[in-house]
Amino acid sequence: MSEVKMVPYPSRSIVPERDVNERPVLEAMHLGVNFGGLHAVEEFNITVGKTEIAGLIGPNGAGKTTVFNLLTKVYQPTTGTILLDGKDTSNMNSVAVNKAGIARTFQNIRLFNNLTVEDNVKLGLHNSIKYTTLEGILRMPRYWKGEKESHERAMDLLKIFDMQDMAKLKASSLPYGAQRRLEIVRALATNPKLLLLDEPAAGMNPSETAELMNTIRQIRDDFGIAIMLIEHDMNLVMGVCEGIAVLNYGRIIAKGTPSEIQNNQEVIEAYLGKQKEA
Protein backbone atom coordinates (compact mmCIF):
# COMPACT_ATOMS: atom_id res chain seq x y z
CA MET A 1 0.00 0.00 0.00
CA SER A 2 1.34 3.36 -0.93
CA GLU A 3 1.84 5.73 1.92
CA VAL A 4 -0.58 8.61 2.39
CA LYS A 5 0.97 12.03 2.10
CA MET A 6 1.05 13.65 5.54
CA VAL A 7 1.22 17.40 5.74
CA PRO A 8 2.03 19.70 8.65
CA TYR A 9 -0.87 21.00 10.64
CA PRO A 10 -0.68 24.34 12.53
CA SER A 11 -0.58 22.82 15.99
CA ARG A 12 2.81 21.14 15.61
CA SER A 13 1.39 17.99 14.12
CA ILE A 14 0.67 16.30 10.84
CA VAL A 15 -2.53 15.11 9.26
CA PRO A 16 -3.26 13.34 5.97
CA GLU A 17 -3.34 15.74 3.06
CA ARG A 18 -7.03 15.07 2.34
CA ASP A 19 -7.97 16.21 5.88
CA VAL A 20 -5.92 19.38 6.01
CA ASN A 21 -8.78 21.72 5.19
CA GLU A 22 -11.18 19.98 7.55
CA ARG A 23 -11.39 20.60 11.26
CA PRO A 24 -9.37 17.83 12.95
CA VAL A 25 -11.49 15.39 14.92
CA LEU A 26 -9.15 15.43 17.86
CA GLU A 27 -6.66 17.92 19.18
CA ALA A 28 -5.01 17.08 22.47
CA MET A 29 -2.77 19.78 23.90
CA HIS A 30 -0.38 19.47 26.85
CA LEU A 31 -2.41 16.52 28.08
CA GLY A 32 -1.10 14.99 31.27
CA VAL A 33 -2.10 13.04 34.35
CA ASN A 34 -0.29 12.00 37.45
CA PHE A 35 -1.17 9.28 39.89
CA GLY A 36 0.15 10.11 43.33
CA GLY A 37 3.14 12.03 41.98
CA LEU A 38 3.87 9.61 39.14
CA HIS A 39 3.56 11.32 35.77
CA ALA A 40 1.83 8.54 33.87
CA VAL A 41 1.39 10.79 30.83
CA GLU A 42 2.76 14.29 30.30
CA GLU A 43 2.91 16.85 27.51
CA PHE A 44 0.85 14.68 25.21
CA ASN A 45 0.11 16.61 22.03
CA ILE A 46 -1.61 15.07 19.09
CA THR A 47 -3.84 16.04 16.19
CA VAL A 48 -5.95 13.47 14.44
CA GLY A 49 -7.42 14.34 11.06
CA LYS A 50 -11.08 13.93 10.24
CA THR A 51 -10.63 10.63 8.46
CA GLU A 52 -7.17 9.66 9.63
CA ILE A 53 -6.15 6.26 10.86
CA ALA A 54 -3.66 7.07 13.59
CA GLY A 55 -1.47 4.72 15.57
CA LEU A 56 -0.26 5.01 19.12
CA ILE A 57 2.61 2.69 19.86
CA GLY A 58 5.22 2.26 22.52
CA PRO A 59 6.67 -0.32 24.88
CA ASN A 60 4.55 -1.90 27.64
CA GLY A 61 3.74 0.57 30.38
CA ALA A 62 4.48 3.58 28.19
CA GLY A 63 1.04 5.02 28.98
CA LYS A 64 -0.84 4.24 25.79
CA THR A 65 -4.01 2.95 27.43
CA THR A 66 -3.79 5.81 29.92
CA VAL A 67 -4.02 8.20 26.96
CA PHE A 68 -7.21 6.45 25.87
CA ASN A 69 -8.52 6.66 29.42
CA LEU A 70 -7.81 10.39 29.44
CA LEU A 71 -9.47 10.95 26.09
CA THR A 72 -12.58 9.06 27.19
CA LYS A 73 -12.49 10.61 30.70
CA VAL A 74 -12.21 7.34 32.56
CA TYR A 75 -9.51 9.39 34.28
CA GLN A 76 -9.74 13.16 34.45
CA PRO A 77 -6.57 14.74 33.02
CA THR A 78 -4.58 16.84 35.49
CA THR A 79 -3.33 19.15 32.77
CA GLY A 80 -4.10 20.04 29.18
CA THR A 81 -7.06 20.39 26.87
CA ILE A 82 -8.86 17.98 24.59
CA LEU A 83 -10.75 19.41 21.64
CA LEU A 84 -13.13 16.93 20.07
CA ASP A 85 -14.19 18.19 16.69
CA GLY A 86 -13.33 21.66 18.00
CA LYS A 87 -15.34 21.22 21.22
CA ASP A 88 -13.59 21.41 24.59
CA THR A 89 -14.29 18.26 26.59
CA SER A 90 -12.97 19.58 29.92
CA ASN A 91 -16.34 19.51 31.61
CA MET A 92 -17.47 16.21 30.16
CA ASN A 93 -17.58 12.80 31.82
CA SER A 94 -17.28 9.45 30.04
CA VAL A 95 -20.93 9.42 29.03
CA ALA A 96 -20.84 12.96 27.63
CA VAL A 97 -17.60 12.28 25.75
CA ASN A 98 -19.21 9.30 24.08
CA LYS A 99 -22.27 11.33 23.16
CA ALA A 100 -19.93 14.00 21.79
CA GLY A 101 -18.31 11.45 19.52
CA ILE A 102 -15.59 9.22 20.99
CA ALA A 103 -16.17 5.49 21.20
CA ARG A 104 -13.63 2.94 22.31
CA THR A 105 -12.79 -0.68 22.85
CA PHE A 106 -10.89 -2.05 25.81
CA GLN A 107 -7.61 -3.88 26.11
CA ASN A 108 -9.18 -6.38 28.51
CA ILE A 109 -12.48 -6.99 26.75
CA ARG A 110 -15.47 -5.42 28.46
CA LEU A 111 -18.64 -6.82 26.95
CA PHE A 112 -22.02 -7.19 28.59
CA ASN A 113 -21.40 -10.86 29.09
CA ASN A 114 -24.86 -12.00 30.11
CA LEU A 115 -26.58 -10.28 27.21
CA THR A 116 -26.82 -11.46 23.64
CA VAL A 117 -24.58 -10.22 20.86
CA GLU A 118 -27.51 -8.32 19.40
CA ASP A 119 -28.32 -6.67 22.73
CA ASN A 120 -24.71 -5.62 23.10
CA VAL A 121 -24.94 -3.81 19.78
CA LYS A 122 -28.38 -2.41 20.60
CA LEU A 123 -26.87 -0.94 23.74
CA GLY A 124 -24.45 0.91 21.54
CA LEU A 125 -27.48 2.26 19.69
CA HIS A 126 -29.15 3.18 23.00
CA ASN A 127 -28.93 6.95 22.64
CA SER A 128 -30.20 6.91 19.06
CA ILE A 129 -33.31 4.86 19.87
CA LYS A 130 -36.11 7.31 20.32
CA TYR A 131 -38.69 6.13 22.79
CA THR A 132 -39.13 6.80 26.49
CA THR A 133 -39.15 4.34 29.37
CA LEU A 134 -42.88 4.82 29.81
CA GLU A 135 -43.50 4.19 26.12
CA GLY A 136 -41.44 1.03 26.54
CA ILE A 137 -43.42 -0.19 29.54
CA LEU A 138 -46.74 0.60 27.87
CA ARG A 139 -45.57 -0.87 24.55
CA MET A 140 -46.60 2.20 22.58
CA PRO A 141 -46.20 2.24 18.79
CA ARG A 142 -42.93 4.16 19.13
CA TYR A 143 -41.56 1.25 21.14
CA TRP A 144 -42.23 -1.23 18.34
CA LYS A 145 -40.85 1.16 15.74
CA GLY A 146 -37.73 1.88 17.78
CA GLU A 147 -37.08 -1.79 18.51
CA LYS A 148 -37.57 -2.76 14.88
CA GLU A 149 -35.22 -0.08 13.65
CA SER A 150 -32.58 -0.86 16.23
CA HIS A 151 -32.76 -4.54 15.37
CA GLU A 152 -32.22 -3.80 11.69
CA ARG A 153 -29.43 -1.36 12.44
CA ALA A 154 -27.76 -3.85 14.78
CA MET A 155 -27.87 -6.53 12.10
CA ASP A 156 -26.36 -4.15 9.55
CA LEU A 157 -23.55 -3.33 11.91
CA LEU A 158 -22.89 -6.98 12.72
CA LYS A 159 -22.59 -7.57 8.98
CA ILE A 160 -19.32 -5.60 9.01
CA PHE A 161 -17.65 -8.58 10.62
CA ASP A 162 -20.07 -11.13 9.21
CA MET A 163 -21.43 -11.82 12.67
CA GLN A 164 -25.19 -11.80 11.96
CA ASP A 165 -25.43 -15.50 12.70
CA MET A 166 -24.12 -14.96 16.18
CA ALA A 167 -26.77 -12.36 17.07
CA LYS A 168 -28.67 -14.62 19.43
CA LEU A 169 -25.63 -15.99 21.27
CA LYS A 170 -24.58 -14.82 24.67
CA ALA A 171 -21.63 -12.46 24.39
CA SER A 172 -19.56 -14.48 26.85
CA SER A 173 -19.95 -17.59 24.71
CA LEU A 174 -18.15 -16.06 21.73
CA PRO A 175 -14.57 -16.99 20.94
CA TYR A 176 -11.95 -14.42 21.89
CA GLY A 177 -11.51 -12.90 18.45
CA ALA A 178 -15.25 -12.53 17.95
CA GLN A 179 -15.52 -10.80 21.32
CA ARG A 180 -12.94 -8.26 20.18
CA ARG A 181 -14.86 -7.70 16.94
CA LEU A 182 -18.14 -7.36 18.85
CA GLU A 183 -16.59 -4.63 20.97
CA ILE A 184 -15.72 -2.74 17.81
CA VAL A 185 -19.27 -3.14 16.48
CA ARG A 186 -20.72 -1.94 19.78
CA ALA A 187 -18.45 1.10 19.75
CA LEU A 188 -19.40 1.86 16.13
CA ALA A 189 -23.07 1.63 17.02
CA THR A 190 -22.72 4.80 19.10
CA ASN A 191 -22.07 6.64 15.84
CA PRO A 192 -18.70 8.10 16.83
CA LYS A 193 -16.52 10.63 15.08
CA LEU A 194 -13.42 9.04 16.53
CA LEU A 195 -13.01 5.36 17.26
CA LEU A 196 -10.34 4.30 19.73
CA LEU A 197 -9.18 0.70 19.39
CA ASP A 198 -7.08 -0.70 22.21
CA GLU A 199 -5.05 -3.62 20.83
CA PRO A 200 -7.69 -4.79 18.33
CA ALA A 201 -5.46 -7.55 16.98
CA ALA A 202 -4.46 -9.03 20.33
CA GLY A 203 -4.80 -12.78 20.22
CA MET A 204 -5.46 -12.89 16.48
CA ASN A 205 -3.51 -15.00 14.03
CA PRO A 206 -1.77 -13.41 11.00
CA SER A 207 -4.61 -14.07 8.57
CA GLU A 208 -7.18 -12.70 11.01
CA THR A 209 -4.95 -9.66 11.50
CA ALA A 210 -4.73 -9.09 7.78
CA GLU A 211 -8.50 -9.28 7.53
CA LEU A 212 -8.82 -6.87 10.47
CA MET A 213 -6.54 -4.43 8.65
CA ASN A 214 -8.90 -4.38 5.68
CA THR A 215 -11.90 -4.03 7.94
CA ILE A 216 -10.36 -1.06 9.74
CA ARG A 217 -9.87 0.73 6.43
CA GLN A 218 -13.35 -0.30 5.34
CA ILE A 219 -14.87 1.14 8.52
CA ARG A 220 -13.00 4.39 8.02
CA ASP A 221 -14.20 4.65 4.43
CA ASP A 222 -17.81 3.57 5.05
CA PHE A 223 -18.39 5.65 8.17
CA GLY A 224 -16.07 8.52 7.25
CA ILE A 225 -14.62 8.59 10.76
CA ALA A 226 -11.18 8.80 12.28
CA ILE A 227 -9.65 5.81 14.02
CA MET A 228 -6.85 5.79 16.55
CA LEU A 229 -5.42 2.47 17.58
CA ILE A 230 -2.99 1.04 20.06
CA GLU A 231 -1.31 -2.09 18.78
CA HIS A 232 1.77 -4.16 19.30
CA ASP A 233 1.51 -5.94 15.97
CA MET A 234 3.85 -3.83 13.83
CA ASN A 235 2.57 -5.32 10.58
CA LEU A 236 -0.86 -3.97 11.35
CA VAL A 237 0.36 -0.61 12.61
CA MET A 238 2.71 0.01 9.69
CA GLY A 239 0.18 -1.37 7.21
CA VAL A 240 -2.88 0.58 8.19
CA CYS A 241 -1.86 3.71 10.11
CA GLU A 242 -1.21 6.99 8.32
CA GLY A 243 0.24 8.92 11.21
CA ILE A 244 1.95 7.29 14.16
CA ALA A 245 2.89 8.64 17.57
CA VAL A 246 5.41 6.79 19.71
CA LEU A 247 5.05 6.95 23.46
CA ASN A 248 7.78 6.12 25.96
CA TYR A 249 7.66 6.75 29.69
CA GLY A 250 4.47 8.78 29.23
CA ARG A 251 5.97 11.18 26.66
CA ILE A 252 5.78 11.29 22.90
CA ILE A 253 9.24 10.62 21.54
CA ALA A 254 8.38 10.66 17.86
CA LYS A 255 5.59 11.44 15.44
CA GLY A 256 5.47 10.72 11.73
CA THR A 257 4.50 8.47 8.88
CA PRO A 258 5.17 4.75 9.14
CA SER A 259 8.38 5.01 7.14
CA GLU A 260 9.60 7.94 9.21
CA ILE A 261 8.91 6.05 12.41
CA GLN A 262 10.59 2.92 11.09
CA ASN A 263 13.72 4.91 10.35
CA ASN A 264 13.69 7.06 13.47
CA GLN A 265 16.84 6.27 15.44
CA GLU A 266 15.34 7.22 18.79
CA VAL A 267 12.32 4.98 18.23
CA ILE A 268 14.45 2.10 17.15
CA GLU A 269 16.58 2.39 20.25
CA ALA A 270 13.88 3.16 22.77
CA TYR A 271 11.19 0.94 21.41
CA LEU A 272 12.47 -1.64 19.03
CA GLY A 273 15.81 -2.01 20.80
CA LYS A 274 19.14 -2.06 19.05
CA GLN A 275 18.10 -5.03 16.94
CA LYS A 276 18.15 -4.55 13.16
CA GLU A 277 14.75 -4.33 11.45
CA ALA A 278 13.76 -7.70 10.14
Binding site: V74, D119, L123, E152, M155, Q164
Partner: protein, 367 residues
Amino acid sequence: MKNSNNAPRSNFLSNISKTTRSNFITYGIIIVVYVIMQILVNAGAVSNLIRGQLIPICVFATMAVSLNLCVGILGELSLGHAGFMSVGAFTGAVAIACMESAIPSPILRLILGMLIGAVFAAIAGVIIGIPVLKLNGDYLAIVTLAFGEIIRSIFTNVYVGLDSAGLHFSILNRIKAAEDGKMIINGAIGLTGIKPIATFFMAALLLLVTLIIVFNLINSKTGRAVMALRDNQIAAQSIGISIPKFKLMAFVISAAIAGAAGTMFAENYSTMLATKFDFNTSILILVFVVLGGLGNIRGSIIAAAVLTLLPELLRSVKDYRMLAYAIILIVVMIFKNSPSIQAKMALMRSKKTARKKTKKASIGKEA
Protein backbone atom coordinates in the same frame (compact mmCIF):
# COMPACT_ATOMS: atom_id res chain seq x y z
CA MET B 1 -30.49 -17.16 1.84
CA LYS B 2 -28.95 -15.87 5.02
CA ASN B 3 -28.22 -12.58 3.40
CA SER B 4 -31.60 -12.09 1.83
CA ASN B 5 -33.40 -8.92 2.77
CA ASN B 6 -36.19 -10.78 4.49
CA ALA B 7 -33.93 -12.55 6.93
CA PRO B 8 -33.54 -9.77 9.50
CA ARG B 9 -37.23 -9.06 9.51
CA SER B 10 -38.22 -12.63 10.18
CA ASN B 11 -35.48 -12.87 12.78
CA PHE B 12 -36.90 -9.80 14.42
CA LEU B 13 -40.35 -11.32 14.56
CA SER B 14 -39.14 -14.65 15.85
CA ASN B 15 -37.05 -12.86 18.45
CA ILE B 16 -39.94 -10.82 19.74
CA SER B 17 -42.32 -13.72 19.75
CA LYS B 18 -39.83 -15.87 21.65
CA THR B 19 -39.44 -13.57 24.65
CA THR B 20 -43.07 -12.55 24.42
CA ARG B 21 -44.10 -16.18 24.39
CA SER B 22 -42.14 -16.86 27.54
CA ASN B 23 -43.66 -13.80 29.22
CA PHE B 24 -47.15 -14.76 28.19
CA ILE B 25 -46.63 -18.25 29.58
CA THR B 26 -45.88 -16.61 32.93
CA TYR B 27 -48.97 -14.40 32.69
CA GLY B 28 -50.96 -17.50 31.77
CA ILE B 29 -49.68 -19.44 34.78
CA ILE B 30 -50.76 -16.62 37.09
CA ILE B 31 -54.20 -16.37 35.57
CA VAL B 32 -54.79 -20.14 35.47
CA VAL B 33 -53.61 -20.64 39.04
CA TYR B 34 -55.79 -17.73 40.14
CA VAL B 35 -58.88 -19.15 38.41
CA ILE B 36 -58.30 -22.64 39.78
CA MET B 37 -57.78 -21.38 43.31
CA GLN B 38 -60.82 -19.14 43.08
CA ILE B 39 -62.97 -22.05 41.92
CA LEU B 40 -61.62 -24.26 44.70
CA VAL B 41 -62.25 -21.53 47.26
CA ASN B 42 -65.80 -21.04 46.04
CA ALA B 43 -66.37 -24.79 46.16
CA GLY B 44 -65.11 -24.81 49.73
CA ALA B 45 -62.38 -27.25 48.83
CA VAL B 46 -59.58 -25.13 50.29
CA SER B 47 -58.66 -25.21 53.95
CA ASN B 48 -58.76 -21.99 55.90
CA LEU B 49 -55.03 -22.28 56.33
CA ILE B 50 -54.33 -22.09 52.62
CA ARG B 51 -57.05 -19.55 51.99
CA GLY B 52 -55.41 -17.25 54.50
CA GLN B 53 -52.16 -17.53 52.58
CA LEU B 54 -53.50 -16.63 49.14
CA ILE B 55 -53.09 -12.87 49.49
CA PRO B 56 -49.72 -13.06 51.28
CA ILE B 57 -48.43 -15.35 48.53
CA CYS B 58 -49.39 -12.81 45.86
CA VAL B 59 -47.86 -10.01 47.94
CA PHE B 60 -44.59 -11.84 48.52
CA ALA B 61 -44.42 -12.94 44.90
CA THR B 62 -44.80 -9.27 43.93
CA MET B 63 -42.09 -8.36 46.43
CA ALA B 64 -39.82 -11.03 45.00
CA VAL B 65 -40.35 -9.76 41.45
CA SER B 66 -39.61 -6.23 42.60
CA LEU B 67 -36.46 -7.26 44.48
CA ASN B 68 -35.35 -9.34 41.52
CA LEU B 69 -35.49 -6.19 39.43
CA CYS B 70 -33.00 -4.66 41.84
CA VAL B 71 -30.77 -7.67 42.56
CA GLY B 72 -31.04 -9.81 39.45
CA ILE B 73 -31.47 -7.19 36.74
CA LEU B 74 -29.64 -4.18 38.19
CA GLY B 75 -27.17 -6.36 40.07
CA GLU B 76 -27.24 -4.36 43.29
CA LEU B 77 -28.20 -5.99 46.57
CA SER B 78 -30.94 -4.24 48.49
CA LEU B 79 -31.19 -5.39 52.11
CA GLY B 80 -33.91 -2.91 53.00
CA HIS B 81 -36.66 -3.95 50.66
CA ALA B 82 -39.03 -4.53 53.56
CA GLY B 83 -38.48 -0.85 54.36
CA PHE B 84 -40.08 0.20 51.09
CA MET B 85 -42.85 -2.29 51.77
CA SER B 86 -43.52 -0.69 55.13
CA VAL B 87 -43.55 2.81 53.66
CA GLY B 88 -46.23 1.62 51.26
CA ALA B 89 -48.10 -0.24 54.00
CA PHE B 90 -48.27 2.70 56.38
CA THR B 91 -48.91 5.52 53.93
CA GLY B 92 -51.33 3.46 51.87
CA ALA B 93 -53.27 2.31 54.93
CA VAL B 94 -53.54 5.86 56.27
CA ALA B 95 -54.74 7.07 52.87
CA ILE B 96 -57.33 4.34 52.65
CA ALA B 97 -58.56 5.11 56.16
CA CYS B 98 -58.91 8.77 55.23
CA MET B 99 -60.83 7.97 52.06
CA GLU B 100 -63.25 5.66 53.82
CA SER B 101 -66.16 8.08 53.94
CA ALA B 102 -65.36 9.88 50.69
CA ILE B 103 -65.02 6.83 48.46
CA PRO B 104 -67.47 4.04 49.19
CA SER B 105 -66.04 1.51 46.73
CA PRO B 106 -63.41 -0.60 48.53
CA ILE B 107 -61.77 -1.65 45.26
CA LEU B 108 -61.30 1.94 44.17
CA ARG B 109 -59.99 2.83 47.62
CA LEU B 110 -57.57 -0.06 47.50
CA ILE B 111 -56.28 0.93 44.08
CA LEU B 112 -55.85 4.56 45.12
CA GLY B 113 -54.24 3.45 48.37
CA MET B 114 -51.75 1.28 46.50
CA LEU B 115 -50.94 4.13 44.15
CA ILE B 116 -50.32 6.43 47.11
CA GLY B 117 -48.25 3.74 48.82
CA ALA B 118 -46.26 3.28 45.61
CA VAL B 119 -45.68 7.02 45.27
CA PHE B 120 -44.41 7.37 48.85
CA ALA B 121 -42.22 4.30 48.49
CA ALA B 122 -40.88 5.77 45.25
CA ILE B 123 -40.09 9.02 47.08
CA ALA B 124 -38.28 6.99 49.74
CA GLY B 125 -36.52 5.24 46.87
CA VAL B 126 -35.33 8.55 45.46
CA ILE B 127 -34.16 9.75 48.88
CA ILE B 128 -32.22 6.58 49.55
CA GLY B 129 -31.21 6.47 45.90
CA ILE B 130 -29.12 9.61 46.19
CA PRO B 131 -26.45 8.09 48.46
CA VAL B 132 -26.91 4.79 46.70
CA LEU B 133 -25.89 6.31 43.39
CA LYS B 134 -22.44 7.07 44.69
CA LEU B 135 -21.90 3.59 46.01
CA ASN B 136 -21.42 0.10 44.75
CA GLY B 137 -21.65 -3.45 45.94
CA ASP B 138 -21.24 -4.06 49.65
CA TYR B 139 -21.50 -0.41 50.63
CA LEU B 140 -24.75 -0.03 48.78
CA ALA B 141 -26.15 -3.14 50.42
CA ILE B 142 -25.27 -1.81 53.87
CA VAL B 143 -26.87 1.55 53.14
CA THR B 144 -30.10 -0.12 52.11
CA LEU B 145 -29.95 -2.18 55.29
CA ALA B 146 -29.42 0.99 57.31
CA PHE B 147 -32.35 2.57 55.51
CA GLY B 148 -34.62 -0.37 56.34
CA GLU B 149 -33.69 -0.08 60.00
CA ILE B 150 -34.24 3.68 60.03
CA ILE B 151 -37.68 3.26 58.50
CA ARG B 152 -38.54 0.61 61.07
CA SER B 153 -37.37 2.82 63.97
CA ILE B 154 -39.37 5.75 62.65
CA PHE B 155 -42.57 3.85 62.06
CA THR B 156 -42.47 2.32 65.53
CA ASN B 157 -42.57 5.88 66.87
CA VAL B 158 -45.17 7.42 64.62
CA TYR B 159 -48.65 8.28 65.82
CA VAL B 160 -51.41 9.13 63.39
CA GLY B 161 -54.94 9.72 64.55
CA LEU B 162 -58.05 10.54 62.58
CA ASP B 163 -61.06 12.29 64.03
CA SER B 164 -63.62 14.88 63.10
CA ALA B 165 -60.95 17.59 63.36
CA GLY B 166 -58.89 15.85 60.69
CA LEU B 167 -55.60 13.96 60.63
CA HIS B 168 -53.23 14.21 63.61
CA PHE B 169 -49.62 13.32 63.19
CA SER B 170 -46.76 13.00 65.64
CA ILE B 171 -43.38 11.37 66.00
CA LEU B 172 -42.26 10.18 69.43
CA ASN B 173 -45.00 12.03 71.34
CA ARG B 174 -47.92 9.82 72.12
CA ILE B 175 -51.15 11.46 71.00
CA LYS B 176 -54.76 10.45 71.15
CA ALA B 177 -57.53 10.96 68.67
CA ALA B 178 -60.69 12.63 69.89
CA GLU B 179 -63.61 10.55 71.15
CA ASP B 180 -65.24 10.43 67.73
CA GLY B 181 -62.06 9.36 65.96
CA LYS B 182 -59.51 6.55 66.05
CA MET B 183 -55.79 6.00 65.94
CA ILE B 184 -54.55 4.69 62.59
CA ILE B 185 -50.89 4.34 63.50
CA ASN B 186 -50.27 3.93 67.18
CA GLY B 187 -46.52 3.87 67.78
CA ALA B 188 -45.13 0.47 68.65
CA ILE B 189 -48.59 -1.06 68.30
CA GLY B 190 -48.44 -0.19 64.61
CA LEU B 191 -51.39 0.11 62.28
CA THR B 192 -54.63 -0.42 64.12
CA GLY B 193 -58.27 -0.55 63.28
CA ILE B 194 -57.84 -1.45 59.62
CA LYS B 195 -60.94 -2.79 57.94
CA PRO B 196 -59.27 -5.32 55.63
CA ILE B 197 -60.27 -4.65 52.05
CA ALA B 198 -57.61 -6.69 50.24
CA THR B 199 -59.03 -9.44 48.07
CA PHE B 200 -57.41 -12.39 46.36
CA PHE B 201 -58.50 -11.01 43.01
CA MET B 202 -56.85 -7.66 43.65
CA ALA B 203 -53.70 -9.31 44.96
CA ALA B 204 -53.45 -11.53 41.88
CA LEU B 205 -54.08 -8.48 39.71
CA LEU B 206 -51.30 -6.60 41.47
CA LEU B 207 -48.93 -9.45 40.74
CA LEU B 208 -49.99 -9.56 37.10
CA VAL B 209 -49.61 -5.81 36.60
CA THR B 210 -46.21 -5.94 38.30
CA LEU B 211 -45.14 -8.70 35.96
CA ILE B 212 -46.26 -6.81 32.88
CA ILE B 213 -44.39 -3.70 34.02
CA VAL B 214 -41.21 -5.57 34.87
CA PHE B 215 -41.18 -7.77 31.75
CA ASN B 216 -41.87 -4.83 29.46
CA LEU B 217 -39.19 -2.83 31.20
CA ILE B 218 -36.61 -5.58 30.85
CA ASN B 219 -37.36 -5.99 27.15
CA SER B 220 -36.97 -2.32 26.38
CA LYS B 221 -33.94 -0.11 25.85
CA THR B 222 -34.20 0.98 29.48
CA GLY B 223 -34.04 -2.60 30.68
CA ARG B 224 -31.05 -3.30 28.48
CA ALA B 225 -29.28 -0.27 29.90
CA VAL B 226 -29.97 -1.46 33.44
CA MET B 227 -28.59 -4.90 32.64
CA ALA B 228 -25.57 -3.28 31.00
CA LEU B 229 -24.80 -1.58 34.32
CA ARG B 230 -24.98 -4.95 36.01
CA ASP B 231 -22.56 -6.52 33.56
CA ASN B 232 -19.98 -3.78 33.12
CA GLN B 233 -20.29 -0.22 34.32
CA ILE B 234 -17.18 1.12 32.64
CA ALA B 235 -18.22 -0.29 29.29
CA ALA B 236 -21.73 1.10 29.78
CA GLN B 237 -20.36 4.59 30.32
CA SER B 238 -18.10 4.23 27.32
CA ILE B 239 -21.15 3.81 25.08
CA GLY B 240 -23.00 6.73 26.61
CA ILE B 241 -25.17 5.02 29.21
CA SER B 242 -25.47 7.07 32.37
CA ILE B 243 -24.94 5.04 35.54
CA PRO B 244 -26.90 7.28 37.96
CA LYS B 245 -29.90 7.60 35.68
CA PHE B 246 -30.58 3.93 35.13
CA LYS B 247 -29.52 2.81 38.57
CA LEU B 248 -31.95 5.27 40.13
CA MET B 249 -34.67 4.34 37.69
CA ALA B 250 -34.45 0.62 38.43
CA PHE B 251 -34.18 1.30 42.14
CA VAL B 252 -37.20 3.61 42.26
CA ILE B 253 -39.42 1.36 40.15
CA SER B 254 -38.47 -1.53 42.39
CA ALA B 255 -39.30 0.55 45.48
CA ALA B 256 -42.64 1.71 44.07
CA ILE B 257 -43.76 -1.85 43.38
CA ALA B 258 -42.73 -2.84 46.90
CA GLY B 259 -44.78 0.07 48.21
CA ALA B 260 -47.91 -1.06 46.39
CA ALA B 261 -47.38 -4.60 47.67
CA GLY B 262 -46.98 -3.18 51.18
CA THR B 263 -50.36 -1.46 51.00
CA MET B 264 -51.98 -4.67 49.83
CA PHE B 265 -50.32 -6.58 52.65
CA ALA B 266 -51.46 -4.12 55.33
CA GLU B 267 -55.01 -4.16 53.99
CA ASN B 268 -55.16 -7.93 54.49
CA TYR B 269 -55.01 -7.66 58.29
CA SER B 270 -56.76 -5.60 60.93
CA THR B 271 -53.49 -4.64 62.62
CA MET B 272 -49.93 -4.44 61.38
CA LEU B 273 -46.74 -4.00 63.39
CA ALA B 274 -43.85 -1.98 62.02
CA THR B 275 -41.53 -4.77 63.16
CA LYS B 276 -43.24 -7.02 60.61
CA PHE B 277 -41.12 -5.23 58.01
CA ASP B 278 -37.72 -5.81 59.56
CA PHE B 279 -34.44 -7.13 58.29
CA ASN B 280 -35.75 -10.70 58.52
CA THR B 281 -38.48 -9.90 56.03
CA SER B 282 -35.96 -8.35 53.66
CA ILE B 283 -33.91 -11.51 53.89
CA LEU B 284 -36.97 -13.68 53.39
CA ILE B 285 -37.69 -11.91 50.10
CA LEU B 286 -34.04 -12.23 49.16
CA VAL B 287 -34.29 -16.00 49.73
CA PHE B 288 -37.19 -16.14 47.26
CA VAL B 289 -35.13 -14.28 44.68
CA VAL B 290 -32.01 -16.35 45.17
CA LEU B 291 -33.85 -19.67 45.13
CA GLY B 292 -35.88 -18.67 42.08
CA GLY B 293 -32.74 -17.54 40.33
CA LEU B 294 -31.21 -14.07 40.08
CA GLY B 295 -32.79 -12.39 37.08
CA ASN B 296 -35.36 -15.17 36.71
CA ILE B 297 -38.69 -13.46 37.29
CA ARG B 298 -40.87 -16.53 36.95
CA GLY B 299 -38.58 -18.40 39.33
CA SER B 300 -39.03 -15.70 41.98
CA ILE B 301 -42.78 -16.10 41.89
CA ILE B 302 -42.66 -19.86 42.18
CA ALA B 303 -40.11 -19.70 44.99
CA ALA B 304 -42.20 -17.14 46.86
CA ALA B 305 -45.35 -19.24 46.53
CA VAL B 306 -43.70 -22.49 47.56
CA LEU B 307 -41.72 -21.05 50.46
CA THR B 308 -44.74 -19.15 51.80
CA LEU B 309 -47.04 -22.15 51.60
CA LEU B 310 -44.70 -24.95 52.63
CA PRO B 311 -44.01 -23.90 56.24
CA GLU B 312 -47.73 -23.33 56.74
CA LEU B 313 -48.55 -26.81 55.53
CA LEU B 314 -45.74 -28.51 57.41
CA ARG B 315 -46.06 -27.01 60.84
CA SER B 316 -43.47 -29.40 62.23
CA VAL B 317 -40.93 -27.98 59.84
CA LYS B 318 -41.60 -24.46 61.01
CA ASP B 319 -38.88 -24.49 63.66
CA TYR B 320 -36.33 -25.38 61.04
CA ARG B 321 -37.66 -22.98 58.44
CA MET B 322 -35.20 -20.19 59.03
CA LEU B 323 -32.33 -22.64 59.23
CA ALA B 324 -33.43 -24.12 55.93
CA TYR B 325 -33.53 -20.64 54.38
CA ALA B 326 -29.99 -20.01 55.52
CA ILE B 327 -28.82 -23.26 53.99
CA ILE B 328 -30.71 -22.47 50.76
CA LEU B 329 -28.87 -19.14 50.49
CA ILE B 330 -25.46 -20.67 51.01
CA VAL B 331 -25.88 -23.79 48.88
CA VAL B 332 -27.60 -22.06 45.97
CA MET B 333 -25.01 -19.30 45.87
CA ILE B 334 -22.07 -21.69 45.93
CA PHE B 335 -23.66 -23.89 43.32
CA LYS B 336 -24.86 -21.17 40.97
CA ASN B 337 -21.43 -19.60 40.90
CA SER B 338 -20.20 -22.92 39.70
CA PRO B 339 -17.21 -21.69 37.66
CA SER B 340 -15.14 -22.20 40.77
CA ILE B 341 -16.73 -25.57 41.46
CA GLN B 342 -16.26 -26.62 37.87
CA ALA B 343 -12.69 -25.41 38.00
CA LYS B 344 -12.27 -27.54 41.11
CA MET B 345 -13.62 -30.55 39.27
CA ALA B 346 -11.30 -29.88 36.39
CA LEU B 347 -8.49 -29.47 38.85
CA MET B 348 -9.26 -32.82 40.42
CA ARG B 349 -9.28 -34.47 37.04
CA SER B 350 -5.97 -32.95 36.12
CA LYS B 351 -4.54 -33.45 39.57
CA LYS B 352 -2.79 -36.63 38.54
CA THR B 353 -0.87 -34.95 35.78
CA ALA B 354 -0.34 -31.84 37.89
CA ARG B 355 1.06 -33.85 40.76
CA LYS B 356 3.52 -35.52 38.46
CA LYS B 357 4.60 -32.14 37.12
CA THR B 358 5.04 -30.52 40.54
CA LYS B 359 6.99 -33.55 41.66
CA LYS B 360 9.28 -33.12 38.73
CA ALA B 361 9.54 -29.40 39.39
CA SER B 362 10.34 -29.82 43.06
CA ILE B 363 12.95 -32.40 42.22
CA GLY B 364 14.39 -29.94 39.77
CA LYS B 365 14.45 -27.22 42.42
CA GLU B 366 16.18 -29.40 44.95
CA ALA B 367 18.77 -30.31 42.43
